[in-house]
């Protein structure tokens, strides 16, 4: 009886075994056809440059004598360390990444905690935070360059009105103040994203957890320290890694605000890489910079994973 009943069942609904077999037979092949446009485009713009850079980096590639590309071995890589451009740029980039990520995650956390409280106008506040994020980086950079302008900028106006030092100063004239401009621009644009990511993390903490904490007599600080913080960790990790990996690539802000100056004191890896490729048209040296940049990125990513995973 039971055998009959189970056997009778598939006849009414579509036979799953048949569908499964058909799916398996025609599936994967057609699947890769569907993946091809997206994967092909991405391979062309990332994997191809990777391979081509690696090939060019051991050759001398110049647009002027395009036909011959003599093999030069490690010359381009040795140039990275003999010339006074790459190493300073590497130091600037790592320093900028450390400072900006710390700043943005700290401020972003405060903003996220604020946005997590229920109050009227919260949606409006979130939207107004999103606008700086959504504006093109070149626009943010132009905006802040003009804000710091010595005759018509707001920073200048404010410092002058308050009789503080820093008024009527050409901010771009020295290294320290140039970096302040870069940091302010980057923080203004990127902190909102950090806040939004952390807010999503905060909202994934169930209300019952806090309820339970309150019943057990936890103070506000205790409930943050022992409930919110550990549960927020994953989101915090994502935010740190995200921000660090994009801070390592900073280019638009440097190009628009400081142009790498004064001297080469605000040049970053992306900036010198762009310069080698499109100003000097030196594709061998540029390739060597690109490869070193990729290695730097991977190493920072691995290091962060190590450090953050160990702390969890």
């Amino acid at each position: 009886m039971t055998a009959l009943a189970t056997r009778a069942k598939p006849a009414t609904s579509p036979p799953p075994a048949k569908i499964m077999r058909r799916r398996r037979r025609e599936g994967p092949w057609f699947g890769w056809v569907l993946v091809a446009p997206a994967a092909g485009a991405l391979l062309l713009i990332t994997a191809f440059p990777l391979v081509y850079n690696a090939m060019n980096s051991v050759r001398h590639v110049d647009l002027l004598d395009g036909s011959s590309r003599p093999f030069v071995g490690t010359e381009n890589y040795r140039r990275l360390f003999s010339e006074h451009t790459f190493v300073p740029a590497l130091e600037h980039t790592l320093g900028f990444t450390a400072v900006s990520v710390t700043l943005e995650v700290a401020v972003g956390l405060v903003l996220a905690l604020l946005l997590n409280m229920p109050f009227r106008g919260r949606g409006l506040l979130r939207a107004s935070l999103l606008i700086p994020w959504a504006v093109p980086t070149a626009v943010a950079a132009t905006l802040w360059r003009n804000m710091f302008d010595r005759s018509n900028g707001f920073v200048d106006y404010l410092l002058g009105a308050l009789h503080l030092p820093g008024a009527h100063v050409t901010w771009l004239a020295n290294t320290w103040s140039s970096w302040v401009m870069v940091l302010v621009t980057d923080a203004w644009q990127s902190t909102p994203l950090v806040a939004i990511l952390l807010l999503a993390g905060l909202q994934s903490v169930p209300a019952e957890v806090y309820e339970a904490g309150r019943i057990d007599g936890a103070s506000r600080w205790q409930s943050f320290r022992y409930l919110t913080w550990p549960l927020l960790r994953p989101a915090l990790m994502v935010a740190v890694v995200f921000r660090a990996l994009s801070a390592l690539l900073i280019f638009d802000v440097i190009y628009v605000v400081t142009g790498g100056g004064p001297g080469n004191s605000t040049e970053t890896l992306s900036f010198v890489n762009y310069h080698a490729f499109l100003v000097d048209n030196n594709f061998g040296y540029g390739g060597a910079i690109s490869i070193s940049m990729l290695i730097t990125t991977v190493m920072v990513a691995l290091l962060l994973r190590r450090v953050l995973a160990a702390r969890c």
């Binding site: 993946v35 997206a38 713009i45 990332t46 606008i131 890489n273």
Partner: protein, 287 residues
């Protein structure tokens, strides 16, 4: 009745008092992030004469639209805006189509190699942009694509495709099989099932992907700077940056006007699609 209303009012006031630090700090935060826009807007309404005095005010003495008229009519900024729009729409259209197909293929059809393919999509999103510049420049030079929009559109996909494919893959994984199977039993081909069953269900997510792609490619400066050389092909951010550099004397009030013009559509989009953008960003990052 009156006995009840009085205490509740005091409670209200006390609640408001307790809340006021919160209100004040949120207003302060909003101001810190939005005030720069106001300042730049006020400066953009200054005439060049007033601007050159170097005495900034919260609102100019003689507000004028001459900067806007100038950059739109004389400096070709209107064309740059149209170029940016064209590029961003093309990027968004390709991204939505290609990532939808890819996500469907990955989730429904591919058995082996799915994780590796997804891993590649995610990692590609972290590829350094400037490392693409040299090889792509040489490629576009030999194929005659230098100084054309397709060059910029292709390069811009590095901003959009990884996020879009990741988002749609995680969405399709949550969709039930049964609907498609029902369509298949009714005689639909696999592509018809995608078009008539999956796409309508996923429509909100596809809109999110389109909005994010538009914003991300509207933001591009690096690729436009590297691959476009004739001023009539400049995108809006590129045109804006060179607006300040092409004159003997830099009048920032003109670049201020450009900043305002580029910001307005982005701000509108953010207010209209705030929820979508937030879900897209957080779902893309936290899974």
């Amino acid at each position: 009745m009156s006995l009840q209303t009085i205490p509740s009012r005091t409670v209200d006031r006390r609640a408001l008092m307790r809340r006021s630090p919160l209100l004040i700090s949120s207003v302060a935060v909003a101001l810190a992030f939005l005030f720069p826009f106001y300042w730049i807007f006020a400066q953009s309404m200054q005439s060049s004469k007033e601007f050159s005095l170097g005495q900034p005010r919260f609102w100019p003495r003689h507000p004028t639209l001459e900067n806007y008229r100038d950059i739109l009519a004389n400096d070709g900024f209107a064309r740059a805006l149209a170029n940016s729009f064209l590029v961003s729409v093309a990027v968004a259209a390709f991204t939505v189509t290609a990532s939808c197909l890819a996500a469907f293929g990955l989730v429904r059809l591919i058995r082996r190699g799915k994780e590796a393919a997804l891993g590649f999509f995610v990692l590609a999103g972290f590829f350094p942009m400037t490392a693409m510049l040299g090889p792509l420049f040489l490629l576009f030079r030999t194929t005659g694509l230098l100084d054309t929009f397709p060059a910029v559109i292709l390069a811009d996909l590095v901003y959009t495709l990884p996020l879009a494919t990741w988002l749609l893959t995680s969405l399709f994984e949550q969709l039930p099989w049964e609907l498609e199977e029902a369509a298949r039993v009714d005689g639909c081909t696999r592509m018809q099932a995608l078009r008539h069953v999956v796409v309508p269900i996923a429509a909100p997510a596809l809109v999110t992907v389109a909005v994010l792609s538009f914003v991300l490619s509207w933001n591009d400066f690096t690729f436009a700077l590297s691959f476009l050389s004739s001023p009539q092909k400049y995108t809006a951010p590129l045109s804006m940056v060179f607006l300040g550099q092409s004159k003997y004397q830099i009048f920032y009030n003109r670049t201020d006007a450009a900043v305002v013009i580029i910001t307005v559509p982005v701000a509108l989009l953010v207010f209209l699609a705030q929820k979508r953008i937030v879900t897209g960003l957080t779902a893309g990052a936290l899974k």
